[in-house]
């Protein structure tokens, strides 16, 4: 065997690069890394996803399973991680323990009526389901609709359980739009509200929430949501378990570990593993563009649903609510709550909506998981 023959694999690899789709995927990976670093957009997820996208789109990448000429399969680390952590929904559920431990339900518990806005802001999920059903089969349409949950783990679990063909695009859309909440929501809110409405002040009355309530709340939510939508019990249960170890007061070190070490570890693997679904041949389709468009549609109608519901309630309320807080009912926590607070300050520097908007925002977290559970109940 001469030297040129022994190095022929180099030519094969270089020739494979002539496929433009690999280069496009590298550009997409680079864009995700750029957005993460330059614009600080969900960097903990977009950066691993961006790097993973490049990793799996190198011709004959050893990071993913490859079918050899002999017919044997050479296993790749990312495919193995996908099967071990996402195909069985393990990573998103473990991440939910960390998220649950991070959430303070205090503002919500002191004013539970705020939860109703979290329910209204799930409108985008179901409206997008209807819109997506015009292009995709109903299971894929439901998985696409759940992008509007603005909640990565819920999107992953629902898409996975419904066996959607578009998991990569759905995951990318869910996480990207969560990062884009400060750009997507303000124009929709301004379009649907008058200046007078945006100026409505909502004084915050500090109410003490007993420790018993804080401990019982996650348990009761799990039972209620589990009874209504049993398919969602793992989602809501892991989220609420995380919150219980935060609130019980005797597991502080576990709570800190869940919030930091556990959540960080899972996030690293989650981002990289999600990228294993972004292989050029599966990702670069017209369908993907349509899914990204429908994801944006879902976020817009979530926001609109929350704002319009608050305006509707104002028709009957003596003490009006600022309709902008309805927009915080999407699950993107705490971005959405902060967006509403900032918009309030833009109109009136003395209008502090933060406690209300954060309360609505955490209720969106609960409502989005319930929406995911209902969708699973409809279509499983």
């Amino acid at each position: 065997m001469n030297i040129l023959q022994s190095l022929s694999f180099l030519w094969e690899n270089l020739l494979a690069l002539a496929d433009w789709r690999y280069l496009v995927m590298w550009a997409i990976g680079g864009l995700l890394i750029y957005l993460a670093i330059r614009h600080d957009m969900e960097p903990s997820l977009l950066l691993p996803m961006g790097f993973g996208t490049i990793l799996v789109n190198i011709p004959f990448s050893g990071a993913i399973d490859q079918l050899l000429a002999s017919g044997a399969v050479e296993h790749g680390a990312l495919t193995t991680l996908f099967n071990a952590g996402i195909a069985n929904e393990l990573f998103p559920l473990i991440l939910f323990i960390g998220i649950g431990a991070m959430i303070d339900f205090g503002p919500l518990l002191s004013n539970p009526k705020l939860m109703i806005f979290g329910a209204a802001a799930q409108f985008g999920i179901f409206f997008t389901l209807c819109a997506a059903s015009m292009f995709f089969d109903i299971n894929d349409a439901a998985a696409i609709g759940i992008i509007g949950a603005a909640d990565g783990p819920t999107s992953i679990v629902v898409a996975q359980k419904l066996n959607s063909h578009y998991q990569g695009a759905i995951m990318v859309a869910a996480y990207s739009y969560m990062a884009l909440v400060p750009i997507i929501q303000p124009p929709v809110i301004k379009l649907l509200t008058t200046r007078k409405e945006r100026l409505i002040r909502m004084p915050y009355e500090q109410k003490n929430v007993s420790k018993t309530t804080r401990i019982l709340f996650p348990i009761i939510i799990t039972v209620v949501a589990g009874v209504v939508a049993p398919a969602s019990v793992s989602l809501i249960g892991f989220l609420m378990f995380g919150n219980l170890i935060r609130e019980c007061g005797v597991l502080n070190s576990l709570s800190e570990t869940a919030q930091k070490v556990l959540a960080n570890l899972v996030t690293i693997f989650l981002g990289l593993t999600v990228a294993s679904q972004m292989q050029a041949e599966a990702f670069l389709k017209l369908d993907t563009l349509l899914i990204l468009g429908l994801g944006l549609f879902a976020f817009i109608f979530d926001t609109a649903g929350g704002v319009l519901f608050a305006k509707f309630l104002n028709l009957f309320l003596k003490k009006k609510v600022n309709p902008m807080i309805g927009a915080a009912g999407i699950s993107a926590f705490p971005m959405s709550g902060r967006v509403v607070h900032k918009l309030g300050l833009q109109e009136d520097s003395q209008n502090f909506l933060l406690m209300h908007s954060i309360g609505v925002n955490v209720s969106g977290q609960i409502a989005s998981v319930i929406a995911g559970g209902l969708i699973l109940n409809f279509f499983l």
Partner: protein, 50 residues
């Protein structure tokens, strides 16, 4: 991928039942939480005695 505009109408039932389901579940949770707050709130008499 094909375009089926009539699917929009037929899937509206999922939208109605989904939103109704969420409002019912959240409504139950609101009621339970309000009740919990009332039951576990420190009694006013106790505060006055203190």
């Amino acid at each position: 991928m094909t375009f089926h505009p009539y699917n929009f109408i037929s899937s509206l039932t999922y939208m109605v039942s989904g939103m109704l389901g969420i409002f019912i579940v959240i409504g139950i949770i609101v009621l339970i939480t309000a009740l919990l707050n009332r039951i576990t709130a420190p009694r006013h008499d106790d505060d006055q005695q203190k």
